[in-house]
């Protein structure tokens, strides 16, 4: 993302310029409106799309190629205590049962936080070439991680995409196994409600539902898809779900999943 600048007036050799252009393509797809996940702390929950997470007195902050750890002993003055370098392309962080799951453009990172002041990389998935350069928030339930990836290639103005939901078995944190991929249109954030996974799909203008009661056999559940224009991210909170979009957000009552109601919508205003 940060390599998207070509200093075209310099005497660079063509390969280097090509590399810059390529990295520009690969790394400039994910905008601020695509940054994140659903990390629960004691008193609140973020969406699935965020670069910050707090756990056990420490805050983790992602730069594109770095995980920074801040000690919150004095919460009014976070202290940077650790930096961990990764490949380029970190985008989202989700903490689940003492581990951090990072969505990156090169795949999924799992970090161990047993020493919360010093995260360690337990594993890093690699991804098939057709998905190289995707943008992916991730959520986790039990032994399974669910990640959406969105790729908008732009080669001299020609757009192609292959976007999908990827399901991983993370029972072995040091060796996550990709179980399957389900094509989507333009997925953003995602959230889990019991045995259902909802994906904000801006391409099809709906929350796309998946049955994850048996994650190894994840199935789309189109009868539970819920129409929402251009959804971006969501937070599940008991019987209510908040879904954000570019200029508005919606509060849904999901106590009856076969009859989801919009309780309230807040629009752009004016």
């Amino acid at each position: 993302m940060f390599f998207a600048i070509q200093q075209i007036n310099m005497k660079l050799n063509l390969n280097f310029i090509g590399m810059l252009i390529l990295t520009g393509i690969l790394f400039s797809q994910c905008s601020a409106d695509e940054l994140g996940s659903f990390s629960e702390s004691e008193n609140g929950a973020s969406g699935s799309i965020t670069r910050f997470a707090v756990n056990d007195g420490y805050m983790y902050s992602l730069n594109p190629n770095q995980i920074q750890t801040f000690d919150l002993s004095d919460p009014s003055e976070p202290e940077l205590v650790h930096e961990l370098t990764t490949d380029y392309g970190l985008e989202t962080i989700f903490i689940y049962e003492g581990n951090a799951y990072l969505g990156s453009r090169t795949g999924l990172y799992i970090l161990g936080l047993s020493n919360p002041a010093e995260p360690v990389i337990l594993s890093q998935t690699t991804r098939g070439e057709e998905f190289f350069g995707g943008c992916d928030p991730v959520v986790v339930k039990g032994n399974y991680a669910f990640s959406t990836i969105k790729i908008i290639e732009n080669i001299c103005g020609t757009f192609n995409s292959r976007s999908a939901l990827i399901v991983y078995d993370v029972s072995n944190l040091e060796n996550p196994v990709e179980l399957g991929a389900y094509d989507l249109d333009e997925p953003n954030g995602l959230g889990i409600v019991n045995n259902l996974l909802f994906v904000c799909d801006a391409g099809s203008d709906k929350l796309v539902a998946f049955d994850i009661s048996d994650p190894e056999n994840t199935q789309p559940l189109p009868e539970l898809d819920f129409p929402i224009e251009n959804p971006f991210d969501m937070i599940v909170d008991g019987d209510r779900v908040i879904v954000s979009a570019m200029t508005d957000f919606h509060i849904l009552d999901i106590s009856d999943l076969s009859n989801i109601n919009i309780i309230k919508s807040i629009k752009k205003g004016e």
Partner: protein, 173 residues
């Protein structure tokens, strides 16, 4: 295999893209800045329209929604009648944040800032950790030339389309 793929991709791109070596002129993007001093204009201001939402957070019934580069809308989602936000927390150049207890942490260009939100209507800017964030230095979701960011002018809070004369930066998106 990946190396071959990369090489072929590079060849394709280099052979098919515009490879002019002079500066770009014509329609393009120019950064808009706030001064570094203005980054400290943090605190409650009047309710703002939602124009470009970003990361979100729910704390009890308080729903926090980023307004990209400007701040955070705060809504009470328990009140089904209330249409307007309760308040807006101005945080120039913000792109993301999180909350722990009564503390809100957000990016502020190259820095991390901490705000006490115990009183949501009267938040207190507490501290700034300098040079820990890598900000975006190009216009997102845009394909074309742009005026390179000049950090001596401050922090980038937006981009506007303008007639450019001989600029040396270009995105591919």
């Amino acid at each position: 295999m990946k190396a071959v793929f990369l090489f072929l991709t590079i060849c394709f791109i280099v052979s098919s893209c515009n490879t002019e070596h002079d500066g770009h002129s014509g329609l393009g993007m120019q950064p808009t800045y706030v001064t570094i001093a203005q980054l400290n204009e943090i605190g409650n201001i009047e309710v703002q329209p939602i124009e470009q939402s970003g990361p979100i957070y729910l704390k009890g019934d308080f729903f926090f929604m980023t307004e990209n580069k400007k701040g955070i809308h705060v809504f009470d989602i328990a009140d089904e009648q209330q249409e307007e936000a309760l308040t807006f927390i101005s945080i120039p150049a913000i792109t993301d944040f999180t909350i722990d207890d009564n503390y809100l942490y957000a990016d502020s260009w190259r820095d991390l800032i901490t705000i006490d939100i115990a009183d949501i209507y009267n938040v207190q800017f507490l501290s700034r950790q300098k040079n820990v964030i890598d900000p975006v230095l190009f216009p997102l979701l845009y394909n074309g030339p742009f005026e390179c960011v000049d950090e001596s002018k401050g922090a980038v809070v937006g981009w506007e389309e303008i007639e450019l004369n001989n600029v040396f930066c270009h995105t591919t998106n």
